[in-house]
């Protein structure tokens, strides 16, 4: 892996962000809208009789962190899609650039975007709802790491599927997290799910990340069992996604589909 080629991909995405309003919208607009929406909801629910103390903070905090997960996964896949839309893949991969260098460049850019989105969303939550997520960040970060690694695994799988099945299935890039959301226990604890669905939830790193985050936000310590389960599942899914990507990429080249992607 060569740093100058990873840097070239970062540069390409930075130029894109400079000229393309969509990138700004993805990075900042939706996180802010999410926080405003969930902020109003949490204020309303927090004032109802019987609301648990800190309920509004839970909702806002998890809304911010779910946004980071969703945006990172989507942006990895959309970054790749933008090369297909521009018919730029053949040009890029006729250079010494490797797939791992390309993906590394995308990861760096989208980590920065996710961080920017989180900071802006956190500021909005602080200004409008007096919810300050920043002091919690050092203890939330290990759980956030679980989310990011899983987002990367999902992004890699979606990218492999787009290689193989072309842009027919490109909507997976921005919709697959919606499928995961009900089972990820983002806004409610695992106990709230019907018993039959809990095994699905427990098989997702996101569930363990949000369970751990709720513990931190309620003033508890870093949830070690959740972290171990989260990173263990992450390692499994990342390995599976990498194997699936490699096979899908090979099948794409074998069928001559790489040059026909559009």
């Amino acid at each position: 892996m060569k740093a100058h080629r990873v840097g070239a991909i970062v540069l390409r995405q930075v130029y894109e962000a400079r000229h393309n309003l969509d990138r700004f919208t993805d990075a900042l607009y939706w996180p802010v809208i999410d926080v405003l929406l969930w902020g109003f909801m949490s204020v309303y629910l927090g004032h109802r009789d019987g609301a648990k103390p800190g309920f509004a903070s839970f909702l806002l905090g998890t809304a911010i962190l779910w946004g980071v997960f969703r945006n990172f996964q989507r942006d990895v896949a959309v970054g790749f899609l933008s090369e297909i839309w521009a018919r730029n893949l053949i040009g890029l991969f006729s250079t010494p650039l490797s797939v791992s260098e390309y993906v590394s460049g995308l990861i760096i850019v989208n980590l920065l975007k996710a961080a920017a989105g989180m900071v802006v969303a956190g500021l909005v939550a602080w200004i409008f709802y007096s919810f300050d997520i920043f002091p919690l960040l050092p203890r939330l970060l290990p759980h956030l790491g679980v989310l990011m690694v899983f987002a990367l695994a999902v992004g890699i799988l979606v990218t492999g599927l787009i290689f193989r099945y072309s842009t027919r299935i490109q909507s997976l890039s921005w919709s697959i997290t919606g499928l995961l959301m009900p089972f990820s226990c983002v806004f409610y604890p695992l106990d709230a799910l019907p018993r039959s669905m809990r095994p699905i939830a427990l098989a997702l790193p996101t569930t363990h990340a949000f369970e751990g985050m709720r513990l931190v936000m309620s003033g508890g310590p870093i949830g070690l069992p959740d972290l171990v389960a989260g990173y263990g599942l992450d390692a499994l899914y990342l390995a599976l996604a990498t194997v699936a990507f490699t096979r899908l990429f090979q099948a794409t080249r074998s069928r001559g589909l790489l040059v026909k992607l559009e």
Binding site: E83, R87, I90, G91, T95, G256, V259
Partner: protein, 249 residues
């Protein structure tokens, strides 16, 4: 030999797109890869560049398997093709600078400025790619193709959208690279006059097979079966097209 292709075969299901294609390209040679639509030219080019995995056969570029030695091989190769686009919102200079970084050029900005000058498009350096005419876009593609001073160039219909003056400049540049650096070129085109003017050798493909190869005059004489005084590749092309219905009957 700089490029050696041996018994290259590619099947897409029941369809054989390439059937035991073998040829070579030496340093400093400009070789035309010709044939009607569907003959297998693009499949050959894409297999050379690793975009298509062959069913069987071998490809050696600079003595290496390009699939196993990507970095070493593709640092010395470049390509212009109708399949290659550029991000439309990036300016010409930004697009080329990304490629300069990918090739690890230390003097990327200067190289780009010089190439923009050679191809007469300095004034377009800050223009978004989406606003270029097809001829201007082709020149940007040529800038990219020359960026890394390649030892082996794959030019797929490189002059199709250029006016005669620009086409002349590009031909001059190619010949200069060939003479000064020994750059080898694999050239596909349907413009037989350009091919006769530029190519040292030509390879005619039809339905995945090589049906003739040699210098333009050798191929002309072999295919037409006449002792012609000068190459007539257009006639060769038309005669091959004329044979197809009879062959398939």
């Amino acid at each position: 030999m700089l490029l050696e292709v041996s018994a290259l075969t590619k099947d897409f299901g029941d369809f054989r797109a390439l059937d035991a294609v073998s040829f070579s390209v030496g340093a400093g040679e400009i070789v035309g890869l010709l044939g009607p639509n569907g003959a297998g030219k693009s499949t050959t080019v894409h297999a050379l560049l690793g975009f298509i995995l062959p069913t069987s056969g071998t490809i050696r570029l600079f003595g290496m398997d390009p699939l196993k030695h990507r970095e070493a091989v593709f640092a010395r190769v470049n390509l212009i093709s109708p399949y290659v686009g550029f991000p439309p919102r990036l300016t010409v200079f930004e697009n080329l600078l990304v490629y300069a970084r990918l090739y690890g050029l230390k003097n990327g900005r200067e190289t780009i400025r010089a190439l923009l000058g050679v191809l007469g498009i300095e004034d377009l350096r800050d223009t978004p790619f989406s606003q270029l005419s097809s001829g201007e876009a082709t020149r940007v593609g040529l800038c990219k193709a020359f960026l890394n001073d390649p030892d082996f160039l794959v030019l797929d219909e490189p002059l199709a959208n250029l006016d005669p003056h620009a086409a002349l400049q590009v031909r001059a540049r190619l010949i200069e690279m060939q003479r000064q650096r020994g750059t080898a070129v694999l050239y596909t085109s349907h413009n037989m006059a350009q091919v006769e003017e530029l190519c040292d050798r030509v390879i005619f493909l039809d339905r995945g097979r090589i049906i003739a190869q040699g210098t333009p005059i050798e191929v002309t004489r072999e295919v037409l079966g006449e002792d012609r005084p000068a190459p007539a590749l257009r006639e060769v092309f038309l005669s091959l097209g004329g044979r197809r219905p009879r062959e398939s009957a």
